[in-house]
Amino acid sequence: MEILIQQLFNGLTIGSVYSLVALGLTLVYGILHVPNFAHGAIYMIGGYVTLTMMVYLGLSYWLSMLISVLVVGTLALLMERLIFHPLRNSISINSMIAAIGMLLFLEAFAQLFWGPDFREMPTPYNEVVNVFGLTFTVQRILIVVAAIVVMILLYAFLKKTFIGRTIIALSQNREGAFLVGINANKVAMLTFFIAGALAAIAASLTSPINLVFPGMGHLVILKAFVIIIIGGMGSIPGAIVGGYILGFSESIGATYISSDYKDIIAFVLLIIILSIKPNGIFAKGEH
Amino acid sequence: MYIETKALSKQFGGLSAVNNVDFSIDKGKINAIIGPNGAGKTTFFNLISGVHKPTSGQVMFKGKDISTLPANKIAELGVARTFQTTNLFEKSTVFENVVVGHSLRTQSNLWDAIFRTKRLKQEQDQSNQKALEVISFVGLSNIADVPVANLSQEEKKRVAFALALATDPEIIFLDEPTAGVNPDETEELSALIKKMAQQGITICLIEHKMKMIMELAHKIMVLNYGEKIAEGTPKQINQNEEVIRAYLGGSASA
């Protein structure tokens, strides 16, 4: 029983990170209609920027995270402008290739600029807490709470504000958006900015319990793809729920099935879901 | 009976797009379906051509139940259709579009393709022949090599006809074949439809252009909210109170 609760909490932690990354990916999917393979690299840069601010400039954790959000958000925005915007009218495979190009670039850049080694991100919230037989560090609570807050804010922003809704509108018909007076280019940039920011937040939150290194994006990105498929591509609630489904199924699966095959669990889950519902769980009727 | 629907129904979620429709299509004639927007006309077509499976009820073709057959099997039986939004292979030329239309009448498989067997050659010739024939039938011979993307609406409609004709159909379902086409050209298209009927092909069409329908149709069914509210000759329909109220409005014969 105790172990179950502990594992549920572990699943919650990891699921929060997955959800944040998947959210960014799903938002960008809405604009590009292409899975952005470079998203994992953006996440990685997010970790490095925060680390650099903390370790080399001695800034506080939160300030560093804020700077990372701005820097990485801007980076994502530039990527939209320089790469994806010119490609918006060509077939989607082209954008995918361009995204792969960016992925290669960013990883090479990180390796050159920060070196290929693993870095540790210090956290001010390292103390260990024991309650009701649960063990965790404050950082872990922070991950969960911060992720949920960010998600609620984002959801409210997208659903309740006009600007937020433009993101959804744009994802469905670009010219249509223009015709109601939306500056589609600005909104596309905004979306990328938000996606980048989410990735930076996710990376900054997890790095203290993990490490920062050029390949860190690979760890989450493939899972984020699984999530947005399970949740229905482009679906915001789908990305959130999918993230937690995966987080829980991993921690519970590792406990009660086999830890060696816990990665396969995610993919098998996906294959089963898609075999039954080829458009994902949250797919909505079209046509 | 040629094509017959029995208590045909289709639900989308809670919505009855087509509800309990009994209808029969007369062989060799021009049949029409009219009704307000969202009445279920396109859905009705989709049910017959196998795009959707009925929620309940049946579609009979020459006495055989085809309601659960996939769309391509129904096409093989000789049931062709066009789409409401013109649906063509935009990047290919008219000829390239139409030549594909006859592929369902071919038997060549991978083997034939790789070894370029006699059968393949024969069938390829046959498809080309057919394509040229139907292109000329719809009057597009002079632009057979132009990519479809560069054509006008009306020309595209003709290509859609040609494509349907290339499948060697017995019956063609036309979903708003003259939408977005001006009156002058509409007349030309209705002449073409008549010509198709004269070749012995049964026609069933959806249109909002009453003038054209009244001229062309032999029999009309009116749908409203998924239900059949009237059926009869143009004259009968034109005078049907319910139809006027639901659909035609004041200037009935506009």
């Binding site: 809704r165 010219e175 223009f178 589609a184 046509h287 | 409401q84 054509l151 659909y247």
Partner: protein, 235 residues
Amino acid sequence: MLELNKVTVKYGNYAAVNNINIQVNQGGIVVLLGSNGAGKSTVFRAISGLNKPASGEINFEGIALNGKSPDKIVQAGIVQCAEDRKLFPRMTVQDNLIMGAYIHRKTKSRIKQTLKEVYELFPILHEKRHHMAGSLSGGQQQMVAIGRALMAKPKLMLLDEPSIGLAPLIVEQMFDSIQQINQEGTTILLAEQNANAALNIANKGYVFENGGIVVEGPKEELLSNEEVRKAYIGA
């Protein structure tokens, strides 16, 4: 109010619209007639900024629209209801309409009012307001598109073949409502196949052929023009 001066629009090397002049006066209804592919939609796209003219000028209320982006043009008061509708298929009907009022997003109460008016015009949309726009029938979608354009309360509304795929009853109602919208102060530029109905509510028309204007003049003149009658009115 709107003035097109020697405008040419090209797709690649092909001039879909060639050196045309159009004048739309405040408060009027102007129709563009012409067979398919004559270039009407292209003109609309150019006015809305979706295509850039290769040469010529487009002026609206004395201001040049040429280099402006589509959203700026909407803000200036020109809204288009496009030929292929360009709805947001996975948003509800109501959200689609509300997005139409994007440029008025600061005045929520007014949006509510306009929304009510649109629903009065197309009651079926009220019934379907919580459905995804993409699941509507062709004609219903057309109504959403017109409704969405109305939501912007434009000074000049461009309607590209609004009657396409609509039932006769609805077409009739729609032309009535165009007239009504016009009387409430919106200038209308309309492209139509249904030349008779369109010319009846219009005060001026242009006839397109192969990207150029071949006939232009006030409604009466066009209605009595033999060739126009034959080609576009069909009687």
